[in-house]
């Protein structure tokens, strides 16, 4: 007999205390179940309608993200390609946002896909967060090169990631199947920043 209650487990379920071991040099934590939608919008005539639904303008410059607060709460829109965006919103909003965005696009050429289960989210902050990422990521994350609002798709320790530079933290979006590998790699790469036992 199978249980008929589906319990949602995040890819890094059970890693919370291990991820916290790098504090205070690097504060590493998973932010599970972020609503994520891929938005393809080659028809820019609907960009204004989409912006109204989200409460934030679509980012026009490559490798940036835009954030704002709209009818569906705080939303971040990441540039993934010339006509491709990733919408990040609070957990549980994917269905609502999906239908709202589809209505905004209407008959125009475009697509909205719920990809919330595709990736999980890791946040890194603290004095050594950038050093830790630099161990496996070739993109220069110095504020003079990657200021707040940068969103790059690149490789971190050979795993494909989307990296967002927020004001006080880095956000790493990683595929669910790579999440435990990347968490283990981050813990290993961060060994030198651990507090020495006294």
């Amino acid at each position: 007999m199978t249980a008929d209650i589906a319990t949602r487990r995040s890819p890094l379920d059970g890693w919370t205390s291990r991820l916290a071991e790098l504090a205070p040099a690097v504060r590493l934590a998973e932010r599970p179940f972020v609503s994520q939608l891929t938005l393809r919008l080659p028809d820019s005539s609907r960009a204004a309608a989409v912006s109204t639904v989200l409460g934030v303008e679509l980012p026009s410059a490559p490798c940036t993200f835009a954030k704002g607060t709209g009818p569906h709460g705080p939303v971040e829109v990441c540039w993934l390609g010339p006509d491709e965006y990733l919408v990040l919103a609070q957990p549980g909003l994917q269905r609502t946002l999906e239908s709202a965005l589809r209505a905004a696009i209407g008959d125009a050429h475009g697509a909205v896909v719920d990809v919330s289960a595709q990736r999980t989210t890791l946040t890194l902050s603290g004095p050594n967060a950038r050093d830790l990422l630099a161990h496996g990521c070739a993109v220069d994350l110095h504020p003079s090169v990657s200021p707040t609002g940068t969103c790059v798709q690149t490789l971190l320790a050979q795993a494909g990631i989307i990296l967002l530079v927020r004001e006080a933290e880095f956000v790493v979006l990683v595929r669910a199947s790579f999440a435990t590998y990347l968490a283990a790699w981050l813990l290993d790469a961060g060994t030198e920043y651990r507090e020495q036992p006294t």
Partner: protein, 92 residues
């Protein structure tokens, strides 16, 4: 490691990219009219110059977009990168 300048994302490491062969290979205008030999030539035969060569690259680990690059096959130097909708720039 060689840096390849993606037309959208800027310079990134070569491992993020995927090679796509010679650029500007036009699909036959009248595919039904082609002989087997002409098909084989279209599908399999590519230039192999010593010097500037226009080729297709995909930023596989980044924006996943295809673009064209003119690369000197002797020095591996990238002389130009341009989007698929742009003309091949003049390189010396």
């Amino acid at each position: 490691m060689q840096l390849i300048p993606c037309p959208w994302c800027g310079p990134r490491e070569e491992v993020e990219f995927h090679y796509g062969g010679q650029a500007h290979v036009a699909y036959p205008a009248e595919p039904a009219e082609l002989s087997d030999e002409e098909w084989a030539s279209f599908v399999f035969f590519r230039d192999n110059p010593r010097g500037p060569f226009a080729e297709r690259w995909s930023h596989a680990a980044g924006c996943r977009r295809w673009f064209n690059a003119v690369r000197d096959t002797r020095s591996y130097e990238l002389l130009a990168v341009y989007r698929p909708d742009q003309e091949r720039p003049v390189t010396t």
